[in-house]
Amino acid sequence: MQTTVSLWPLLGVAVIVAGFVLRFNPMLVVAAAALATSMAAGFPVEKILAEIGTGFVKTRNLPLIILLPLAVIGLLERHGLRERAHMWIARIRSATAGRLLIVYLLVRELTAAVGLTGLGGHPQMVRPLIAPMTEGAAETRYGKITDALRYRLRALAAATDNVGLFFGEDVFVAFGAIVLMVTFLHEEGIDVAPLHVAMWGIPTAICAFLIHGYRLYRLDKRLDRELGYQAPRTGDAAPGTAGRATELARQAASNARGEQA
């Protein structure tokens, strides 16, 4: 029974794992894995190159979503898009990094669930808007933040986009994955309605929102504790870092007024 399936193609997987663990350049690792896999399958050199070439041409659609928005995002950044996102969030006094990302998670997941996956994305939404707003919210609340925290917040902004997209889009009936699942089951002699598959995705979608949302809620609590934030009391001179935060907020508010004049 062991001999019916060839285990040689797993050589490519071994190359990938070793390459990523040893931190070689990913482009090189992937090319080496493709070469190793096709050699293990016993293809001649020309067929190996043809296999790689055909695959690369077939997947040209993948970098489009990264490359196409760069022109407009780059141009807007030159004219202060990220700075603007920063200023805008500083005006909303109740905004915190965690709350902002929870709202984005909800919007991203709900819009993906009705098929509007184009409303988010890393090049066009996270880099120019969501990440600077998250950093801005933290700076308004805690004053200057360390680079380590800045990178952590950016990574969480990207993570939030991914979680919202992945666990929202599978609830959408016309999503490619649902078509794939229904077609596959049909070939196996089992018929299910696409609507049923979409509906049974809802419990996991809710769990994903609760789990990731709870982590973001904890983020706020942890930052408040570590960076010593106290809610400013009314009629009382707010001490310490909170004083700095309100000072920053006041500055931001006066900036906002200034530009309207």
Binding site: V5, L10, G12, V13, I16, F24, N25, P26, L28, V30, A33, A34, S38, A41, L49, I52, T54, G55, F56, V57, K58, T59, R60, I66, L67, L68, L70, A71, I73, E77, R78, H79, G80, L116, G118, Q124, R127, Y151, R152, A155, A159, N162, F166, F167, D170, G176, L180, M181, F184, I190, V197, M199, W200, G201, T204, C207, A208, I211, N255, G258
Partner: protein
């Protein structure tokens, strides 16, 4: 159809060719000829990749991987305006700055929703197989025109800004495509079958809980290896899902596949193989640690995977 995805390939090809030209002509760029060759080959593949012999394209790809692997695709010195100038401009333009950025999703959504009705003489205006991508492309072009009008800047400047960002992203731009290619090579060589064979022959699945766990964890692990839940799905569902969960334990197939696919997505959250979601954002957000996004996602992915195992145990066997 009138607007096919091929036009977007040509557009990207032209932009990459311009980037390659600017890199080669940039005397301050440390590795201008190597980096220029890298982007030039990429441009060629986008412009005429389907007309060239596949083996030649394969040789180009290997050459690009070697150039990138030797660390020769570095960026030049970015020319950006000072922080004060940008803040001034942000104040002057105000919230209008957001509008071109929001044009992209708006046009994508409108295009996707209206595509079935956009017909000229019975011919679809937008390629029906790639509606979202083509609508997204139109959105990006519309956004550039809008942004140029708003900022009184030129299309030439937007190409220079593209070069700045492409320089910063470096080879990460093409990593998703490399991995897509590897996924095709893997499935041709039967990697999925080998993995499914290993899991099914060495785990005893007489207990329902064990079988459910094998299916969910298997989906996640195979997705980690292949970088894509879609590639893992037929292997695990054909190997464990249908014969064991449905055949032996009478699971509801709709529940099984829905939760199974989500288990695969938990794998996508923790693998560098899903470069579009994990490695490219790290490059886009200029994070020093290329795995920072994955690290931020690990706790969420693990918790959701455990939730999936519990949900499948409860919901599929009512």
């Amino acid at each position: 159809m009138i607007l096919s995805i091929t036009y977007l390939y040509w557009l990207v090809g032209i932009v990459l060719a311009l980037v390659a030209g600017m890199v080669v002509l940039d005397k301050t760029h440390p590795k201008r000829f190597f980096a220029g060759t890298f982007w030039g080959l990429a441009a060629l593949i986008f412009l005429v990749g389907d007309k060239l012999p596949p083996a030649l394209v394969g040789a180009f790809v290997v050459a690009m991987a070697v150039i990138a692997g030797c660390g020769l695709v570095t960026g030049g010195k970015p020319k950006v305006l000072s922080a004060e100038a940008r803040t001034q401009s942000a104040k002057r333009l105000g919230n209008k700055l957001f509008l071109p950025a929001l044009t992209i999703p708006a046009v994508t959504v409108i295009g996707t929703l209206t595509a079935p009705y956009l017909k000229i003489d019975g011919v679809s205006l937008i390629d029906p197989k790639n509606v979202t991508l083509v609508a997204f492309g139109i959105g990006c072009i519309a956004a550039v025109i809008y942004a140029c009008g708003l900022t009184r800047d030129t299309v030439g400047q937007s190409v220079r800004e593209t070069r700045r960002l492409v320089d910063a992203l470096s080879w990460a731009v093409l990593l998703p495509q490399m991995l897509g290619m590897l996924g095709l090579v893997f499935s041709d060589a039967g990697v999925g079958k080998a993995v499914a064979h290993l899991t099914t022959s060495y785990v005893n699945m007489d207990l329902r809980v064990v079988a459910v766990t094998v299916y969910c964890v298997g989906m996640a692990l195979l997705t980690i290896v292949m970088g894509n839940g879609f590639a893992a799905f037929p292997v695990m569902t054909g190997g464990v899902g249908v014969p064991v969960l449905v055949g032996v334990f009478h699971a509801d197939p709709a529940v099984m596949v829905a939760i199974g696919m989500f288990s695969g997505f938990c794998g996508s959250l923790v693998t560098p193989m899903a470069a579009n979601y994990n490695i490219v954002p790290a490059a886009l957000l200029e994070l020093p640690d290329k795995n920072a996004v994955i690290k931020a996602q690990v706790p969420t992915a693990l918790a959701i995977l455990i939730a999936n195992i519990a949900l499948l145990n409860v919901l599929a066997f009512r």
